[in-house]
Subunit: 137 residues, 2 copies
DNA sequence: ACTGTGTTATATTATGAATATAACAGATAT
DNA sequence: ATATCTGTTATATTCATAATATAACACAGT
């Protein structure tokens, strides 16, 4: 699994990190029961502060993606009951689809995009393995 | 068309405003050629600063939703060529779908959600007209 | 004892959101 | 012409938060 941080992005580092880990889980680059690096180790590898990683981990824990164990560190443990993911998805989707509708993207095109992305996640890594500055996790 | 700002949200006010206007256009609550209130008027109605509204308008102009005319004010004018909306959609969609996949939401369920939201936009207002603290625009 | 976990606390710096005035150029109406 | 309304730009301040830097604690493993 790879992590790539864009330091020029307007998106906060801990958000980028959180998102990439979620994508990594969805792409099955890292699986249930496996553990992420410690907050200090990953912070060193990326070149950021420990607390920034800690914040990402804490959020992932709260959202039901991680279980934080003192012994094994941060292990992937999905809890679908933590919150209503379907409801959250609809909220996020509403704005994105509104943008698309304004720009004349059809419902069929959106369905194609959905299938395309789902396909990427199913067959292993959606990211090419040439590693362009990405941090191995 | 209605605008509702959540002052307790972590989302910036000008982003909320921008999103609601995009949703309003998609829902055809406000249509091409019609004009939005002036930055000062809308700011007064909502109870926020003029510059906050101005920032939302400037972004909408840059993204190809608005044309700012000194005579008529801010009029809705969609320009699908301003940027690649389809590419932007895929970027945003990737994280959302990753979250859904982790939480065991199937591809079919996502398709249903898409159709549901598209249906909301087609038949007029997706927002009920009971007006719970929303600002008429 | 020592090291490595997550966790918490405190403080500082930097960035950006939101506000408050103020002014300008152009268009409209009285 | 005078006044008023546009968007636009400029400057400054306040406030929230992201990111950093240390430091310390409780717990588990070697």
């Amino acid at each position: 699994m790879f992590v790539e941080i864009d330091f020029n992005s307007e998106e906060a580092i801990y958000i980028q990190l959180r998102n990439q880990i979620v994508i990594g889980i969805a792409a099955e680059e890292i699986q249930e029961g496996e553990s992420l690096p410690s907050v200090r180790e990953l912070a060193d590898n990326i070149g950021i502060n420990m607390h920034t990683v800690n914040k990402a981990y804490s959020i992932l824990k709260q959202e039901g993606y991680l279980q934080l164990d003192r012994r094994k560190g941060a292990i992937i443990a999905i809890d679908p009951e933590k919150y209503d993911a379907k409801l959250a998805m609809m909220e996020d989707m509403r704005v994105i689809l509104a943008e698309g509708i304004c720009k004349d993207i059809t419902c069929e095109e959106v369905h194609q995009i959905i299938d395309l992305i789902f396909g990427e996640f199913k067959k292993g890594s959606p990211i090419d393995n040439h590693n362009g500055g990405k941090i191995n996790v």
